[in-house]
Amino acid sequence: MAQSQDNTQEPVAGRAPLIVGGYDFRSLTEAVAVPVERKTPIGWWFFFLPSLAMLGLFGVSIGWLFWEGTGIWGLNNPVNWGFAIVNFVFWVGIGHAGTLISAILFLFRQKWRTSINRAAEAMTIFAVMCALVFPGIHVGRVWVAYWMFPLPNQMDMWPNFRSPLIWDVFAVSIYGTVSLMFWYVGLIPDLATIRDRAKTRIRQIVYGIFALGWRGSHRNWLHYERAYLMLAGLATPLVLSVHSVVSMDFATAQLPGWHTTIFPPYFVAGAIFSGFAMVMTLMLICRVLFKMEDIITMRHLENMAKIMLLTGCMVGYAYGIEMFIAWYSGNPYEQFAFANRALGPYAWAYWIMVSCNVLTPQLFWFKKMRNHIGWLFISSILINIGMWFERFVIVTSSLHRDFLPANWDYYQATFWDFASLIGSFGLFFTMFCLFARFLPLVATAEVKTVLPEADPHQGEELVRVVPAGSAAEPTPQAAPAGGGGA
């Protein structure tokens, strides 16, 4: 890590390299493929086994829930939504950074995304998996969970498409499907790389099947790149819609503290904020564990820190404007809900949220802090804690004191609430460990395109600068190499 070249400063002439360490095509393939091919490192077990244990806890807590019912959670009458919904919103939000990196930054031609997009997309898929568990298990009568889908049935009964909860089913499941397809399409060329390097028959067959016989044909790349671009274009509005729809679960209710028009953009900003924090946590570990400090460089980390600063400020603004509108509305119920949020029984959660989400990223105004590995790691954890609490505050502090004071109660999470939260992290990290072990962590084919030698016109820009006075810009390769005398 220490000897890595600093690419966070733009040089006076030209541009700073996106990846450092003097990679060429071959050494880059090597750097990404070897972790998939070598013997499992001890460090991987160090992460995998605890994750697996947590996943086991998830299984136990879900099994107990199915046996006993939602009474094992700390839910009570005003607080009918607890950890299950908090965790659901939290995990959907985590996923958003992956799509932002893979789709939105792709459309904006932010080429630095190539080093981290594969892992970020994988993270998206695993986060959506975690998220989808909760609406599935929290319905109480799990054996009728299929009622969420418009399936013909003997009762001639159909879901109510006017309900945001049904919008949510569609938004999140389609988001998961599209993310999975996007990720897989990106993986195909790299799976072919692993296939072609395979030393054993089993690897050849397994990776070969998933590589679909990809052979890098440019007639294929033509459609492939077009499909990729369109998937990016589709995923962009999709990801913005998903957390907007999630926010409407709350915003369309009449409950003070939920009934707010700011929710859709506020939720999307928060989702990207927390997702980037999670990408940061994972990348800081992976780049050390898989010795990829020159591919996932300081510049990538710094760019992510900048996005965290931006989205953190947006989230802070949303907290402020919520308070302002509550006061400005003149609605006593709104005013009470927000005063209660900041000063009531859940004030501790509110102030954890504000200090983690608003104060923590402010240090990223300083380059020194954006380049400080230790602080990046700590802040990414703090932000994720803060973002989990944001959802906790929204859900519980709004519910626990609604219109009728006789109904008021305090929601106290039980052991099984925490077990399902910790368990969902187990599912997430188990999946991520398996991904990091068996699939190429970096989109090799895409990173190769940002190496200088991938440019078919390398060095020709210099030629173009010399006749600066000429009007029409001549394409340097216009002269045909007319050797066609067959």
Partner: protein
Amino acid sequence: MGLMTLDVPEASAGYSHYGVLARFETAKALYRACEAVRDAGYSKWDALTPFPVHGLEKAMGLKPSKLPFLVLATGLSGAGLGFALQSWVHILGYPLIISGKPLFTWPAFVPVTFELGVLGAALGAVLGMFAFNKLPTYHHPLFRSKSFARVTDDGLFIAIEAWDPKYDDRETAEFLSGLGAVEVEHVPIDDPAEDGEPGGAG
């Protein structure tokens, strides 16, 4: 759609070779060579690279992909079916008056219509790309070549197929060498008796 078929036309019957495979050292050399092959009038040929070389479709004279039209069609179908499903459910299938609202509450149908439109378009993009590219194609004569395994690592190749009208075993190979290819070889056509080996490990 013949997804599993080999990407070799019927015309290949009677040819002893799939064609000539030439490896180039740099993306720049490959780009120049593609322009030359295009200008020489070859039509049954391909460039094979580990990553999409920027702008190579121009050098190869390829037309833009037609995929967007398919995606538009599947996207609109998805959205249309989604809207129809919701309208049918609320007007005919299960007409319930909720909160005194009309049965045809189209603004409430917008989110699901949008989501299903995106799903249709994304499925169209991925499955359409597979169909246009004839994926999966697990068996291909090029996998016979030993050096071709580099195509997913650092190898930049041009392959000219034997059934191209301008193809000549010797002249085409010399033509490609003249363009700066560092390796030129004739690729045998598949022997149907022999089992295919993905990855071309020999």
